[in-house]
């Protein structure tokens, strides 16, 4: 058995946006993708962690704040890409489920491997759909969507509840055509509880400078929040969900 140890870049004890209710969100280090708009470049390398935690530590941390989380909250594994540390996430999720704690996985699904056992212990998958078209997917994150598609298929086989997300970037996917094709794509996915469009922002630029990594969207403006909200509304209308 692998060592019960997770590498973490940050911990949000009052997570209000990554899953239902108020949650403990663990940002795990390591990500195989290099998305153009990534706002957490400091989490790319597995070795970029600031802290290590055991599953017991995670449970203790949750317990410290469970009075705030109430019945609607839980724990979300985010990143980086949490599937990079799938063994740790599995150990953790098992322990959390033994304690009746809601678990969510915030992922791109774009990692190779068999995650069906892990998904048995995950209540909600928050899945990032980088792009619908293969070439666009690759353009955005540098990888083909093969693993993503496999992961989605397993989620569907296991009837996992899904929240679907997409980052909207000006001049890349902020037009009606994209929204329509995204809607058509999502229509074929079942168990979708929520769809969210996240407006791209350039706040991470300084992080790139610090890390000496070239920033690729220098000439792209921030996504207008209102316009993004309109697109989200449109998407929801097309999908007939609220």
């Amino acid at each position: 058995m692998k060592k019960d140890e997770g590498f973490v870049t940050d911990i949000e004890t009052m997570g209000l946006v990554d899953g239902p209710g108020m949650r403990l969100v663990l940002f795990l280090s390591g990500c195989p993708l290099r998305c153009v708009y990534c706002h957490n470049p400091e989490t790319w390398k597995l070795s970029d962690y600031t802290k290590t935690l055991s599953s017991q530590n995670v449970l203790e941390l949750y317990n410290k704040f469970k009075v705030y989380y109430g019945e609607s909250g839980g724990v979300t594994f985010s990143g980086g890409e949490p599937l990079v540390q799938a063994d740790f996430v599995l150990t953790c999720a098992k322990l959390l489920k033994q304690n009746n704690i809601h678990t969510a996985l915030d992922t791109s699904g774009s990692v190779s491997g068999d995650f069906s056992n892990l998904l048995d212990y995950i209540d909600l998958v928050i899945l990032d759909i980088k792009a619908v078209e293969d070439d666009e997917y690759k353009k955005i994150c540098g990888k083909t969507p093969e693993n993503f598609k496999k992961f989605l298929t397993v989620c569907q086989q296991k009837n996992k509840k899904l929240w679907l997300r997409q980052v909207i970037v000006p001049n890349i996917n902020d037009d009606d055509k994209h929204i329509k094709s995204l809607a058509n794509y999502i229509k074929n996915i079942k168990n979708v509880e929520k769809v969210e469009l996240l407006p791209y922002h350039s706040l991470a630029k300084s992080k790139y400078e610090k890390l000496n990594i070239p920033y690729r969207l220098n000439s792209t403006p921030d996504m207008d929040k209102q316009k993004c909200a309109q697109l989200e509304k449109k998407l929801k209308q097309l999908l007939n969900i609220s």
Binding site: M14, L16, M22, V67, Y68
Partner: protein, 748 residues
């Protein structure tokens, strides 16, 4: 025919008729409301007319530098002033402190010097005849106190070890049970007080107390008669009980008003009235004699009156308690027992005044929160908090086991059983400066004066935790004694020279007394100890060998991060100080209580304190109340709350633990619906851990900076500071900057 049959028609229960027992009356007659805010009515035309006039007056007051007018020919007193009105034909609740709105009273009984200084500061002069005679013939509280103060109290005061002591003006913090007037009428209250005076022979074992109390009860009876007379000048006969909702509110308000005419205490709180009033409102609604819009009109207009309460203050006072606060605290909700709450439709109506009449700092609306309050009410309160930043929350499940279910909050966080307990307000002592005294052998780091004897100076190059901590314990013991002595003297003299007869008349004759001590610089002291323990702290000493700065090498845990290494130090410190205080005998057998509440005096205390071992530089502000030092609670909002929640309330900080919590709206959720439900969860979680108080601000720092630079854009911007709310524009620059420097919990 049964007495008061008309007034009490429809009310159930007998016990409360036989003795003065408002609480018993409420228990048997109130109707809990578990629904939502859908029933609420907008403000009436009359209210609109009255409020519009007030808004103009308030604007005028602001333009004049904060004081619109002062009555300079007459001194304070229950019946001293002619009736005054804002807009007589539209006022459904009447009564002003003087004969005109926002015209302030000169109260000389607390101290002549301060009263005259306040007059001068605002450009007024007291009628010279009045002044001459008062000074010639009347000794004041302030005179008495300084006749008795010991040399060491004077030194402690002068050096800012003790600050804000109520030794030159009214002590405040006393809440009369004003509801008694409405339920029983003044005559019955006088009758009961007369019964208490029937004793024929004095108790020689308690001679002084016995004589004092007899004199006081006679003064109380005189005050009750004066309240009746004052009400009569407004055309109301309050000798009998109130017979409808308008009268219930009006009668109670006359009681409060008498206290605000007679006294000028820093905090003069209202009590816990909404659910009491609701019984009368419900009865009238049922009888068809009142509509919802009229019920809201009564509450709105009562609240308008409370918003106009003013006292004449000096600039020094304003520095300590910024923004002209009066702490007309009104406590709402709370639980009757584990299952049933005191939430009524009127609890909603009171919160709704913040929508009908714009956000406001006063009255200081305080929700007594319990995990078992009806969800609809929790959500409504959270919504109003998010929209107005004007509500504070206090843990009912924390306080109710100690104070029963009919307590009210005085000032910011002080709980007292209504009509059964009174409080001797004791200001606060500077814990961070005390620590410097422990290092500097009792010498003050700023004046260089030796304030406390018997503690050796620490000469080590690097501070040793055990050694400093041992000295600190010695210092705390001595300071507790000085502090107790000061308060014993203050309250002895206050009772003698500035007795609050009208407020005490609305208490039981035999009351329980609490002496409310307080501390400032709590988190600064805890962090300083943590720095000495976990980092390397080297004092930098001046030529007199007094440490005036510190070099800090290495990391140390800071209070506010849910880190037990420092949180335990903090808890141990405050428990130790309380234990030192409670060793002493207190005036009139009062019980010692302690608060972590600075109001805005954290700025002034910081100004008077040299650099501390935690890295805070000389003159920099402390954090308010029990808050972590600004910007040091960096592990997230909940960690910060968890640290504060560890501070024990029962048998330690039983006078309150104030926490001011600021969060930016986007960190609280995407939309208002989400923000409301998340705020409910946060408040629930905080209080479930036994916490006592939280101020909630949901706003952006950028907004405050803009408001500081462009005040005209935000005439009604109200924020919670420490135990109370203020209009942001009424704060001076130093206080505004301090508020902006505080930790705003953001999305990370």
């Amino acid at each position: 025919m049964e007495k008061n049959q008309n007034e009490w028609n429809g009310f159930v229960g007998e016990d409360w008729k036989n003795s003065i027992d408002v609480s018993g009356f409420i228990d048997q007659n109130y109707t809990e409301y578990t629904g939502d805010e859908g029933f609420l009515a907008p403000k009436s035309q009359k209210t609109t007319a009255v409020w519009d006039k007030c808004k103009k007056l308030l604007e005028k007051e602001n333009k004049k530098g904060g004081c619109l007018n002062v009555e300079t020919n007459i001194l304070s007193g229950i019946t001293a002033f002619k009736p005054g009105y804002i807009d007589k034909k539209n006022e459904v609740i009447v009564g002003l402190q003087t004969d005109a709105p926002l015209k302030r009273i000169v109260n000389m009984y607390g101290g002549t010097k301060i009263a005259l200084k306040a007059l001068e500061a605002h450009g007024y002069k007291l009628n010279p005849e009045v002044q001459k005679h008062f000074i010639a013939y009347r000794k004041t509280h302030n005179d008495g106190v300084f006749d008795a103060y010991t040399p060491i109290i004077r030194r402690a005061r002068k050096n800012g070890l003790l600050t804000g002591l109520p030794d030159g003006y009214g002590r405040g913090r006393i809440i009369g049970d004003y509801r008694r007037i409405a339920l029983y009428g003044i005559d019955r209250l006088i009758e009961e007080k007369q019964k208490d005076q029937q004793q024929n022979f004095l108790d020689e074992d308690n001679l002084e107390e016995n004589i004092r109390l007899r004199e006081e009860v006679s003064e109380q009876i005189r005050a009750l008669n004066q309240i009746k007379e004052m009400a009569k000048s407004y055309g109301y006969d309050i000798s009998r009980p109130a017979k409808n909702a308008q009268e219930a509110i009006q009668w109670s308000y006359f009681g409060y008003l008498a206290g605000a005419k007679e006294n000028n205490g820093a905090a003069t709180s209202m009590g816990r009235d909404a659910t009491f009033f609701d019984i009368y409102i419900e009865r009238d609604l049922k009888n068809g004699t009142l509509t919802e819009i009229e019920a809201q009109e009564l509450v709105d207009q009562f609240v308008i009156k409370l918003r106009l309460i003013r006292h004449l203050r000096t600039p020094e006072y304003d520095e300590l308690f910024a923004g002209d606060p009066t702490w007309v605290t009104e406590s709402l909700a709370g639980m009757f027992d584990d299952k049933h709450s005191f939430v009524t439709k009127s609890s909603f109506r009171f919160l709704h005044t913040l929508e009908n009449l714009d956000p406001s700092a006063e009255p200081n609306l305080t929700v007594l929160w319990s995990k078992n309050l009806p969800m609809a009410f929790k959500k409504y309160a959270s919504k109003i908090s998010i929209r107005t930043d004007s509500i504070q929350y206090e843990g009912d499940d924390t306080m109710r086991p100690l104070y029963g279910h009919d307590y009210a909050i005085s000032c910011c966080v002080s709980s007292m059983k209504e009509g059964k307990q009174m409080q001797f307000f004791g200001a606060r002592c500077n814990l961070a400066k005390s620590l410097l005294y422990a290092i500097n052998g009792g010498y003050d780091e700023i004046s260089g004066m030796k304030v406390i004897d018997g503690v050796e100076k620490i000469d080590d190059e690097v501070l040793d935790y055990q050694k400093v901590r041992k000295n600190y314990s010695k210092i705390l013991k001595t300071i507790a004694k000085i502090y107790v002595d000061a308060n014993n003297i203050i309250h002895y003299m206050h009772d003698k020279y500035a007795y609050e007869a009208s407020q005490m008349a609305l208490h039981d004759t035999h009351v329980e007394r609490l002496m409310a001590f307080g501390v400032a610089g709590f988190s600064c002291a805890a962090d300083s100890l943590s720095a000495i323990k976990y980092a390397k702290v080297t004092p930098i000493r001046n030529k007199d060998n007094i440490a005036t700065d510190f070099k800090i090498e290495g990391e140390f845990p800071k209070f506010g991060n849910d880190d037990s290494r420092v949180d335990d130090i903090a808890v141990e410190l405050i428990q130790e100080f309380y234990d030192c205080l409670k060793q002493h005998k207190l005036y009139r057998n009062a019980k010692a209580t302690l608060s972590l509440l600075t109001i805005t005096s954290n700025v002034m205390y910081g100004l008077k304190t040299g650099s501390t071992p935690d890295g805070r530089k000389a003159g920099q502000a402390f954090a308010p109340g029990a808050n972590p030092m600004h910007g040091r609670d960096c592990s997230g909002a909940l960690c910060s709350l968890n640290s504060v929640a560890k501070i024990p309330f029962a048998n330690c900080c039983q006078d309150g633990v104030s926490n001011t919590f600021s969060i930016v709206p986007s960190a609280l959720g995407h939309d208002e619906k989400e923000q409301i439900s998340n705020l409910v969860n946060i408040i629930d979680g905080y209080f479930i851990q036994g916490a006592q108080h939280i101020n909630v601000n949901v706003l952006n720092r950028e907004l405050l900076i803009d408001a500081m630079n462009n005040p005209y854009k935000y005439p009604n911007l109200t924020i919670r500071v420490s135990g109370y709310a203020v209009n942001f524009n009424k704060l001076d620059r130093a206080h505004q900057e301090e508020v902006i420097a505080r930790t705003f919990h953001e999305k990370r």
